[in-house]
Amino acid sequence: MDFIKSAKKFGVRALLLQGLTFLSVLTSAFMIWKGLSLFTNSESPVVVVLSGSMEPAYYRGDILFLNNGYSPIEIGEVVVFKVKDKPIPIVHRVLKVHTERDTGAQYLLTKGDNNPVDDRGLYNSGQLWIQRDEIIGRVKGFVPYAGMGTIWMNDYPQLKLGLLGTLCVLSLFSND
């Protein structure tokens, strides 16, 4: 009820302005992410390492920057891929590559540096190779430990909501 009262007092325009200030926090964040995504041609241009399977190169909590350029994947490259129908992206190194002569289609086998076996156990049942379109991107750079915040927020989802809520509330109080 208070909201309606203050809405009548300030008028529609002021309400729309406040709404825009609040929404612009969300939209600019999303648009920056989308822009980066389009620039790198990758559906997820920044990822967090969730497991220790790539130690000592990448540790849990590192942030990786990806680029999904069109050039063929080569052996030794560290890639992030998502097996079809499995939601979790995995960051491992490419072990073997087969390229079809006529179409140029690539079949890849991956393995985590710190794992004792290759990834065939992680692929779908019966799948021996992953395709190029299951690759989200190659790792182009990384920042150590910077992703610990994301890991905490995934383990405790209340943190994520709390952070977003705080940002929005703060934007409402800015004197624009």
Binding site: S24, T27, M31, G35, L38
Partner: protein
């Protein structure tokens, strides 16, 4: 001496904050002009609202589309919406800096046939209110009297309009500004 017709709450500002002092003066000016029969024109706000919400709408559609369908399929629309968003934001920024600048109130007086526009700024750490008043005839009116087409500037230290405890001296402020308004609207004998 014309007192604001609106029964507003007592205006008080933190005398140590230039931005609060400026905000109080802006509010006082708005009330004075509104009392003198100037209806507020919201063109600047409307332009920015339209541009802003165009960006928001494209962003919302893109979010929904790319949530439902895979990246490769929705890429084409993302290119469009990111471009539209960037363009709308850039236009809004340019509009704010080039067209609107310091203007905080634009009012039109139908009876007298002209528009008064007020802009104010302050310099950092300098407690002086710099007000610029301009006027132009309402477009389409046949016989606008010729007004002073040069802007009238009022430059006074805040100390002249605020008591020590921060209360706003509305009467004195109104008196000073009305003098400037008269100078602005004085017919030019050319």
């Amino acid at each position: 001496m014309v007192q604001g017709g609106v029964a507003s709450a007592k205006v008080a500002a933190n005398t140590a904050s230039v931005s609060e002092l400026k905000a109080a003066c802006d509010k006082g000016l708005k009330e004075l002009l509104t009392a003198q029969g100037y209806e507020e024109m919201h063109t600047h706000t409307d332009v920015k609202l339209v541009l802003g919400y165009i960006g928001v709408v494209f962003c919302a559609i893109d979010f929904a589309y790319s949530w439902k369908y895979p990246f490769e399929q929705t890429k084409w629309f993302s290119y469009i919406s990111v471009s539209v968003y960037a363009l709308a934001s850039a236009l809004a920024l340019v509009y704010s800096y080039v067209v609107q600048r310091d203007t905080f109130f634009v009012g039109y007086n139908k009876a007298k046939g002209h528009i008064v526009s007020a802009g104010s700024c302050t310099k950092r750490n300098e407690p002086t209110y710099r007000l610029t008043l301009t006027t132009r005839p309402i477009r389409g009116r046949q016989d606008p009297p010729v007004f002073n087409c040069k802007p009238v500037e009022v430059r006074q230290p805040f100390a002249e309009w605020f008591y020590e405890d921060g209360d706003f001296a509305t009467a004195k402020f109104n008196g000073d500004i009305e003098g400037a308004l008269e100078a602005l609207l004085a017919k030019k004998a050319e």
